[in-house]
């Protein structure tokens, strides 16, 4: 194996049968391709930033057409068929297998959907790319699309995975990479326009239940929104899951986070068995399964070197070179120094390789975090706009006057009530201050009360801005009637005059109040 590790990712090419389907292949590096082997399926990794793991692999119906005798073209009179295929969703691809190529005789009692327990005996029949696709259900809540109503699809719940081609720069991208679909044949739009030819043919799946269709559709939608992200393969070698199974360690889905330098240097991350670090617990060796993918695979010798380095130096919290050198030469011959130097240089190279992987992983996390923060920033900006709109709406609602709600409008009534209360307090304060300023005796005060009251009433009336009756603030709208404040106290004043047998004052005030009320009533009459 080459010392320099190169990425392995899943790509696709159009099926040689020219039936609108695609075959998966493995792209190594940038330009080297090889067919998809059955053992590759266990190594295909799902996206690691998905909110939920992919749905469990399951059997679904898949739209296929019967081929001609030459196996190169679709028969013209071929009816659509929905044979059962075994589907696996990984990253941006849905692999589907012939049922005879899948051995899923696993122990269902211990089946965990995160463990890919099925064994694949052959390569997949094809692959459905989900990047830049849309999942559509039959319109009107129907179970199947109308064109498939007479097929066995009517026994299930159908959905369509439709490719949405980019309008711009599609020409440039279509020729640059394999698997962008320039050579695809449109089954429905065989004579379509050039843009239609860029699109991949839609794929139809038939699920057994409505919930299954929803789960798969949601998972596909999440992955369809991820652009230009490779579907990587776990480095060749033993599946880390199997390693952990050997060690009776269950790997949790959330354990991939929190990698540190010791995890980087841990040999189990490289996909091969190695000596366990004596300084780290078993749990710490579970994390970071993809680190070596980023920096290159760590060879067995390198892992051994790293383990030896960890055993020699990993437990030391304080390392002093001179003490170590003295100890070394006390225990070893002088001529062993050169060999030890070469050994240390080799160790250093191995450790650097692991560190490079850690740095690359941190960088990847940083990029992902930046992307998430960018999305969050946009969401916060949209939330801010929304809040501003709501504030504007509230302000406009506050300014609404319910003119037609005659005396029943709660908001207007409340405003009026508040306004009355405020004005009453103001006028009460003014009234009391006026009384305090008068230093006359009580009799004099009583005798002067009526004229003062008249003056005060007259001043209130003059204070009105628009209405001749206005005795309060002119902030109200012109559609409301201002009731003079002195009317609130006029009853008490008249009663006091009557008790004092000052019938003339009482009569004058009473007639004045009656006149005021009459004016208000006339205003109400409009």
């Amino acid at each position: 194996m080459s010392k320099e590790y190169q990425f392995e990712k899943v790509t696709f090419e159009p099926s040689p049968q020219n039936n609108g389907e695609f075959l998966p292949q493995i792209t190594i590096g940038e330009s080297t391709h090889r067919p998809f082997h059955p053992s590759d399926m266990d190594r295909v990794l799902d996206y690691d930033n998905m909110p939920e793991p992919p749905p469990p692999d399951a059997q679904h119906g898949h739209l296929e057409f019967e081929m001609d005798d030459d196996d190169m073209t679709i028969r013209d009179d071929a009816p659509p068929k929905f044979p059962k295929r075994y589907f696996c969703l990984r990253g941006s691809f849905i692999f589907y297998y012939d049922m005879k190529d899948v051995d899923n005789s696993y122990d269902k009692a211990s089946f965990d959907r995160h463990d890919h327990a099925a064994t694949f005996l052959g390569p997949p029949l094809g692959v459905i790319p989900v990047e830049r696709t849309k999942v559509e259900f039959p319109p009107g809540g129907r179970r199947v699309f109308r064109e498939h109503a007479n097929t066995e699809a009517r026994n299930g719940y159908e959905m369509m995975i439709r490719h949405v081609a980019r309008a711009a720069n599609i020409n440039s991208t279509s020729t640059s990479t394999i698997g962008t679909g320039t050579q695809k044949q449109e089954k429905e739009n065989s004579a379509g326009a050039a843009s239609a030819a860029k699109r991949r043919a839609p794929a139809y799946l038939v699920m057994d239940s409505l919930g299954q269709r929803e789960a798969w559709a949601d998972a596909i939608r999440f992955r369809a929104d991820v652009y230009k992200k490779d579907t990587k393969l776990r480095p060749a070698g033993t599946n880390p899951d199997e390693l952990n199974m050997d060690a009776n360690i269950h790997i949790g889905a959330g354990d991939k986070m929190g990698t540190d330098i010791f995890d980087v240097l841990d040999p189990s991350k490289g996909g091969k068995k190695g000596i366990s670090s004596p300084t780290r617990g078993e749990a710490s060796r579970r994390v970071g399964g993809e680190i070596s993918v980023l920096a290159g695979i760590i060879e067995k010798e390198e892992q051994t070197d790293i383990n030896e380095a960890l055993q020699m130096f990993g437990t030391r919290t304080l390392f002093q070179e001179d003490i170590w050198v003295n100890d070394f030469f006390e225990q070893n011959d002088e001529n062993e120094g050169a060999d030890m130097c070469q050994k240390f240089e080799r160790w250093q190279t191995s450790i650097k390789k692991g560190l490079r992987g850690a740095v690359l992983e941190q960088y990847e996390y940083f990029v992902e975090a930046s992307r998430e923060m960018t999305v969050m920033g946009r969401e916060v900006a949209s939330l801010k706009d929304l809040v501003n709109k709501q504030v504007g709406t509230f302000e406009s609602m506050k300014r609404v006057t319910f003119d037609l709600d005659f005396g029943e409008g709660p908001s207007n009534g409340d405003i009026d009530a508040d306004g009355v209360g405020t004005a009453t307090e103001d006028e009460t304060t003014r009234y009391s201050s006026d009384e305090e300023d008068e230093n006359a005796d009580e009799n004099e005060h009583k005798s002067e009360k009526s004229p003062n009251g008249k003056k005060r009433f007259g001043r209130f009336r003059g204070a009105g801005a628009t209405s001749p009756l206005s005795g309060r603030s002119s902030k109200k709208s012109t559609s409301t009637i201002d009731i003079p404040l002195w009317l609130d106290d006029v009853i008490e004043e008249i009663t006091a005059f009557v008790k004092e047998c000052r019938y003339t004052d009482a009569t004058e005030l009473l007639l004045k109040a009656r006149s005021e009320v009459s004016d208000i009533v006339n205003l109400v009459r409009g």
């Binding site: 005659f406 005396g407 409301t480 009637i481 009731i483 008249i494 009473l510 009533v521 109400v524 009459r525």
Partner: protein
């Protein structure tokens, strides 16, 4: 009654949607003021009328006593009933819309005055 009509008119107009309107609190305040004004007017008129009636009755009794007194010839020529002491009350009654009560009180006083002469 004027106030009753006013009250009914106010209530009716408040039920009609016009450009001018009263809030619920203002409407309640106006109703309270109108009812209070009506009560006060009634009380005021009763007091004025009762005062005039009592005063006229007292003058009538006094006149009877004077006529029964043999020394009445020694009494002053001008009787207290001739004084214009009820003009204010009568005026207020008229202003308050109790013209009938004012007319009755005035007639009683006028009769007493004529009997005096």
């Amino acid at each position: 009654m004027f106030v009753s009509n006013l009250l009914l008119s106010t209530l009716q107009k408040n039920e009609t949607l016009t450009e001018k309107k009263l809030s619920k609190k203002e409407l309640a305040s106006m109703q309270r003021i109108i009812i209070s004004i009506e009560d006060l007017t009634k009380r005021l008129c009763e007091r004025l009328s009762e005062g005039l009636r009592r005063k006229n009755e007292a003058l009538k009794q006094t006149t009877k006593k004077e006529k029964a007194d043999p020394l009445s010839a020694m009494a002053p020529l001008v009787s207290p009933i001739a004084l214009n002491d009820d003009s204010t009350a009568l005026h207020l009654l008229v202003r308050l819309g109790r013209s009938q009560d004012a007319a009755s009180a005035y007639a009683t006083r006028r009769s007493l005055l004529l009997n005096e002469w």
